[in-house]
């Protein structure tokens, strides 16, 4: 099964801050039935305690997620914000990251979904992939790039 589905590709999300971004992007996962109503508050709480921002070479990204009990169907929502918002850096909450690409993960069983993690991770460490994803100007281009590198 592909990691990427087109209804979970979102381009040009307008968000005031990280919380706003998580809520807006999370709505796609909720509306698609991928996650339970408890998912959003759980992700927000987790992000406060264990932030998920990562500063890559050219841009900042974030991968908000939470425990599997809040998930119905495993999925990854790939979203590009129209303007970056401030996330805190993983492993070092005092460092801020201006994140523009958000990989919101609905992980049900981490061991069974290792493949998904690896695909997301491979994107982070692949400059070409990051460049194509961040250069995507509309949903179709973002979908194309996501399929190419994560599909």
């Amino acid at each position: 099964m592909s990691t990427i589905t087109k209804d979970l590709i979102v381009c040009g999300v307008k968000a005031e801050n990280a919380e706003d971004a998580i809520k807006t992007i999370g709505a796609y996962l909720i509306n698609g039935g991928y996650v339970k109503d408890t998912y959003l508050p759980a992700v927000l709480e987790r992000e406060t305690e264990y932030p998920t921002g990562l500063q890559l070479k050219t841009i900042g990204v974030a991968m908000p997620h939470t425990a599997g009990i809040h998930v119905n169907i495993p999925a990854v929502c790939v979203a590009k914000l129209s303007d970056p918002v401030e996330f805190r850096h993983m492993g070092d909450p005092d460092t801020k990251v201006q994140a523009q690409l958000i990989f919101m993960m609905a992980i049900k069983d981490p061991d069974a979904q290792l493949d998904t993690h690896q695909k997301v991770m491979r994107v982070f460490t692949n400059e070409e992939a990051v460049e194509e994803l961040s250069a995507a100007s509309d949903k179709d281009k973002l979908y194309e790039a996501a399929m190419k590198y994560m599909g």
């Binding site: 500063q55 070479k57 993983m90 492993g91 981490p110 290792l114 991770m121």
Partner: protein, 97 residues
């Protein structure tokens, strides 16, 4: 191959620590180490370590307490920016054993 146990710590003890665990397994194998990774959240570090035999703790979430086992900041494995640095830090600890 030398067997080593590494505790991988992230916020939920699942997603990022699984990424770190895989990366460490793959990279350290090239240096002659067969890594047995154990994943934990910051809240379960103590109980995970109770099993014993850990050579180091690789963290992507801050672990503030000192457990008497060397810690390595492994965030570089997720971004790829300082991957070699993380591996070098691990090797320094493992090779000193």
């Amino acid at each position: 191959m030398k067997n080593v146990k590494i505790l991988c710590v992230c916020g939920s003890g699942t997603v990022s620590s699984a990424m770190v665990a895989n990366k460490l397994k793959e990279k350290l194998a090239k240096h002659g180490y067969a890594v047995t990774p154990v994943e934990a959240s910051p809240n379960s570090v103590e109980s995970a370590l109770a099993a014993g035999g850990f050579s180091l703790i690789a963290c992507v979430s801050p672990v503030y307490k000192d457990y008497g086992i060397p810690k390595v900041n492994a965030v570089g494995l997720l971004t790829g920016l300082a991957e070699q640095q993380v591996i070098d830090d691990c090797l320094k600890i493992l090779n000193a054993k």
